[in-house]
Amino acid sequence: MVEEQDKDQANGKSQADAGDAAAPSDTDVPRFRPAVPSGGRRFWRAMTKRPQASHLGVAVLLALLGFGAVLQVRGDEEDALSHARRDELLQIYDGLTREADRLEEEIQDLRRDRDDLASSAGDESVALEQAEERLRQAQIVAGTVPVTGPGIQLTISDPDNQVTDTTLFGAIYELRSAGAEAIQIEGQGNDTAVRIVAESYLLPAEGGVEVSGVMLRPPYVITAIGNPENLDEAMHFPQGVMSDVTLDGGDATVTQFSELTVETLHEVTEPEHASPAPEGE
């Protein structure tokens, strides 16, 4: 029955296609009474009356509309650019280009800063290396670190305890002038060793010598790090160390080593009176 009615409508339509959504008058007369019932009531009636198969097409179109609208709205949220118009895109592009230029400049500034910092850090590391090198030298000179290297050992056997502090001092002096870089003197009699540094001193003592306040008993072994040949030669000068020891009544032998260790350390005491003079005076 419904289809029948539809066909009628379609026929009527082709005959009299007047305005928008205007249906032919002969099919559904009650719907054409203008004021009564009211529009709202008609709408309500249309909503609640029995479903018509012919409304399926309308439903499909409305579904498409809802679907498309929701998709479009969601798409808008995701990506605003894709349906921007050309001049909008141009504007956005301009803005981005300016932004990119600005950021590029910033990158260059930062890069320059970084290079500056890197080079100054390089300077600092060189300075640090030099300082460490000086520290190392100072430590060797001051005798606060063990030292290894080639050198000689001068063994002075003194059975009658007759070798004097002066003779030992002469030996140390000769070693120093021959380029010894680190010296220690060991009294094997009481198995004690002393590192010879700038402030070291020797004094005569009962049954041995006193070096920097430490008692040493013979035989003495002086270990010196330096060029072994030079040091050896320095010991054998005429009227030098060897002959002095012999004159004193002792016996000295020199042994060259390619690898020696000076292990005894000197304990540095804080200077009591001396302090560095101000620079430039």
Binding site: Q9, A10, K13, D17, D20, A21, A22, A23, P30, R31, F32, R33, P34, S38, G39, G40, R42, F43, A46, M47, T48, K49, P51, Q52, S54, H55, L56, G57, V58, A59, V60, L61, L62, A63, L64, L65, G66, F67, G68, A69, V70, L71, Q72, R74, G75, S82, H83, R85, R86, D87
Partner: protein, 110 residues
């Protein structure tokens, strides 16, 4: 009733299906939606005036959408896409407001 259900079903489908609009169609979808809205408001008005006809609605709906998209497409090809789409929106907007005013009078009698 079926059309209303269809609208609701379409909205729900749009919410839950993750389909993106094809890139080529992107510029025309908004215009098409406005055109379709115009048709829908016209349809509601027709229902209230008792002159609704589903075939007319279907034809006017499709024709509205196609013509609106076509105008915008043409405008894009001619380089006046922005202006033409504005024009289409304005015209459709006026029609929607007119229809809405009529509907309003039917409902509120004012």
């Amino acid at each position: 009733m079926i059309p209303a259900l269809g609208l609701v079903a379409g909205i729900i489908a749009g919410l839950f299906l993750d389909v993106s609009v094809p890139l080529d169609l992107q510029p025309y979808v908004p215009i098409a939606i406005v055109a379709a809205l115009d048709a829908v408001f016209g349809g509601i008005r027709a229902v209230m005036e008792g002159i609704f006809d589903d075939k007319v609605f279907v034809v006017s709906f499709i024709a509205n959408v196609l013509i609106a998209a076509l105008i915008v497409y043409l405008g894009d090809q001619l380089g006046v896409g922005a202006q033409l789409s504005t024009a289409v929106i304005v015209v459709l907007g006026i029609r929607i407001f007119t229809n809405a005013a009529t509907i309003r009078r039917h409902i509120f009698r004012a």
